[in-house]
Symmetry: C2
């Protein structure tokens, strides 16, 4: 390591102690070939020794071939100076992302088609933000998010989701996971948190990891079974009423009212409305958000730009009911905003300039075409004689219910061998499903071009013999 | 709201229903003057009605003066169409950041002098990242942070802090607060978490808010009193050994060893080493990080770029011991990275190109000059006859111990009236201090130019009569 303890009482001069230390590090392989060493001035300043000391050490290492010097670039560790075999080092087990096998046709529900993202517009806005806003960009953003962005989000919610949210009620955060973890701190850990079963397993894991008791709540055809909430002492419930993940159920108005009534029946009961893909409706009139029906201040509205822009942006937001917003401002003021000001200003401009709504319209059209191509290919391939689709009125995935004796696992495995990636519905079960549920598969269609739907279904036909 | 329920069975045509709805919203003041309405096509697509319907409604509103049309820009709500008085709306109590009074000389410890940030280099690198890396920028980054950035951090830690960290041990996150909240999930909630008293109050609040029991641990002249940890059943302790906040103590080697021994005496004991301003040492040889002395895998090293670059960047990182890194990868894989890929690639380039280390050298020189100007001004003003500085060998703040009968509150209030912003030491006490502790003030000096130190001290002299 380059922070040796140099000892002034040692009979060897400092430069020699330093030289021996660096040589040892190179020989042990801890300083890898090609590594750039700090500049003489920087290392001298760091070690509080004179530049001459570092110079002495570097010159010796150069002379002995441990280092090479490159004009105006600095000093680099030479290859071949290491003792074989190099020390293994403290690397933990390999930590590559658990690789999803690469499918020729990937009906995964995670991710979106980033090719649709208007990158050049985005880059242009980012460049504009970079020019001449230095002060604003370098100071810490408002803890709830920069006002300009919250204003733009409030405008969008009002125009497109019928949601009246004052910018002071909005909290911007680095992804829905971060916001859910903060919500647990805001809402407390008493009672249980209910989650939809089947549902988005990550929510269950995050809530558990945040130290709350989590209760999976079963669904019927109208969505979450509200009467179960009381039985399980649920106090806070996470729901996806606009388009259930993964069943695709759009919760009808009477059930929404029942859920709101449940929340109103005891103090400190809350509903987290996760509106993760509500921007994508393809048929039917828009259904107002649960939040817009809530007169009692019990609904927390949560949404993300990961599905509508790009997963790399890490911007989500929530709308707190006024009383919770006040509690937030009183008790959570100490939390800094988790999103860099840079992204926040760029996104605010993107929304203010109408680019976001134009982008939504464009992707909606594109995804709709993909969905229709998928349905057409399903019809012409004969798949619809062996199965039924559901949940396709909104959102970015469909459910395919199969009328066959194969299990979901067999269907998925056969599809995989034919190059088609699908998820079994059981992947989203939190508790064992009813034994008479037919096998079902979840098909996200955002990543497959329209003209690829027919070949994909042709492969499925071969794999599944329908 | 612009998501009306349009009723096909109503005897009024759809366009009229829509027109009445928008008019009502404008009259009620819910659509503010100047608001841009969605384009006809966008609103028609949203409401699933024909463009002709929206056109009909907009034309009526234009005719009646509720809207104005601007060529190629769209439709805007006209001023003067609102019924007075407008509805108050659901805004919670004003939520501006609790404003720090603006001082002529601000010795605050929060924030750094962002004018020193090499903004043009940073902007140039950001522009480079924006050009031609589209795919990489739009897909979700590795959950622990992009490998290139973790590699650069590992290199920096090795060269400047003597820390051997494999990039697989590093987790990048949106600020130290976010990482501390994740650490609670990783380390669990059994036993107590110890924090330094006095110390950084935010850590106490975050840990409490994350659902753990927090025990303030007193300090002596060598830092944290290790023997108290057992008495209070502490299992995880948060420390700032390189430069205690706010006392400025640099924990000497024997105390470091005692702390490491404590951690090794029982399973699942951990030390969170918060190295928040270790880059700024001004005298004395560098002291190896606690992490580099730890052979038992009990130290989690935490640091941030908020102090070294800019608070708006929201990038911190931690180095997990190998076994914890494996646990992370096994159990926390589902957490997405909280930092946008964009910032991560830009920062990686900034570090790889040597800009970070150059920037550190430059700011260190600059801050050192400010610190020396402050000490010189203190001497020449006579302040050092009435008080003593401590804690100034490292870090970005000093402690001023006063030998006078005024309380800290009186000293701070008098300074404030003279335009000098200071914090009392008591602001960092978690439990009542010993009654014989002299009054002390915390002086951060990063935001005051060297030539301003003398005038600042002259004002203090008037205010404090020393």
């Amino acid at each position: 390591m380059l922070t040796p303890i140099l000892d002034g009482n040692d009979r060897r001069p400092l430069y020699e102690q330093l030289y021996r230390h660096i040589r040892g590090e190179i020989e042990a392989g801890r300083l890898a070939p090609g590594t750039r060493l700090p500049s003489k001035r920087a290392l001298a300043a760091h070690l509080k020794v004179s530049v001459v000391t570092v110079e002495g050490a570097y010159e010796q290492l150069l002379a002995e071939g441990y280092l090479s010097a490159q004009a105006r670039r600095g000093f680099f560790v030479q290859a071949g100076a290491q003792e074989p075999p190099p020390e293994p080092g403290p690397a933990p087990a390999a930590a590559e992302a658990p690789a999803r096998p690469a499918f020729r046709w990937d009906f995964s529900t995670s991710g979106v088609d980033t090719a649709l993202f208007p990158f050049s517009t985005w880059a242009k806005l980012m460049r504009e933000v970079l020019s001449g806003q230095e002060d604003r960009l370098l100071s810490a953003p408002h803890p709830q998010g920069v006002p300009q962005l919250r204003q733009a989000i409030a405008g969008h919610l009002y125009r497109f989701r019928g949601i009246r949210a004052h910018p002071e009620q909005i909290v911007v955060g680095a992804g829905s996971e971060t916001l859910i973890a903060l919500l647990v701190q805001l809402l407390g850990r008493q009672g249980a948190y209910g989650v939809e079963d089947p549902g988005y397993g990550k929510t269950h894991r995050i809530l558990t990891s945040c130290g709350v008791r989590v209760e999976p709540i079963p669904l019927d055809r109208q969505g979450l079974r509200v009467e179960v909430l009381d039985q399980r002492q649920v106090r806070v419930v996470h729901v996806t009423p606009s388009h259930h993940f993964p069943l695709g159920i759009i919760m009808p108005a009477p059930r929404r009212q029942a859920l709101l009534r449940w929340a109103g029946e005891a103090p400190e009961r809350y509903i987290i409305e996760d509106d993760y893909d509500s921007e994508f409706r393809f048929s039917g009139k828009p259904i107002p958000a649960l939040q817009s029906l809530d007169s009692g201040g019990r609904v927390i509205y949560l949404n993300t730009f990961a599905k509508t822009l790009a997963p790399s942006l890490r911007v989500s937001y929530m709308v707190l009911p006024p009383a919770l917003a006040e509690r937030w401002q009183r008790e959570f003021w100490f939390y800094s905003s988790t999103v860099p000001s840079f992204e926040q200003y760029a996104l605010a401009r993107f929304m203010e300039g109408g680019h976001f709504e134009r982008h939504l319209n464009r992707t909606r059209t594109r995804y709709k075409a993909r969905r229709e191509a998928l349905l057409a290919a399903a019809r012409s391939s004969g798949l619809l004689e062996a199965g039924t689709f559901s949940g396709g009125d909104a959102g970015l995935h469909l459910l395919l219910w199969m009328d066959c004796r194969w299990t979901e696992e067999e269907l998925v495995a056969r599809a995989a061998r034919a190059g088609v990636g699908l998820s079994p519905l059981s992947a989203y079960d939190l508790s064992p499903p009813s034994p008479d549920r037919p096998p079902a598969l979840v098909l996200g269609y955002t990543r497959i071009a329209a003209q690829e739907m027919a070949p994909a279904l042709a492969q499925l036909k071969l794999a599944w013999h329908f």
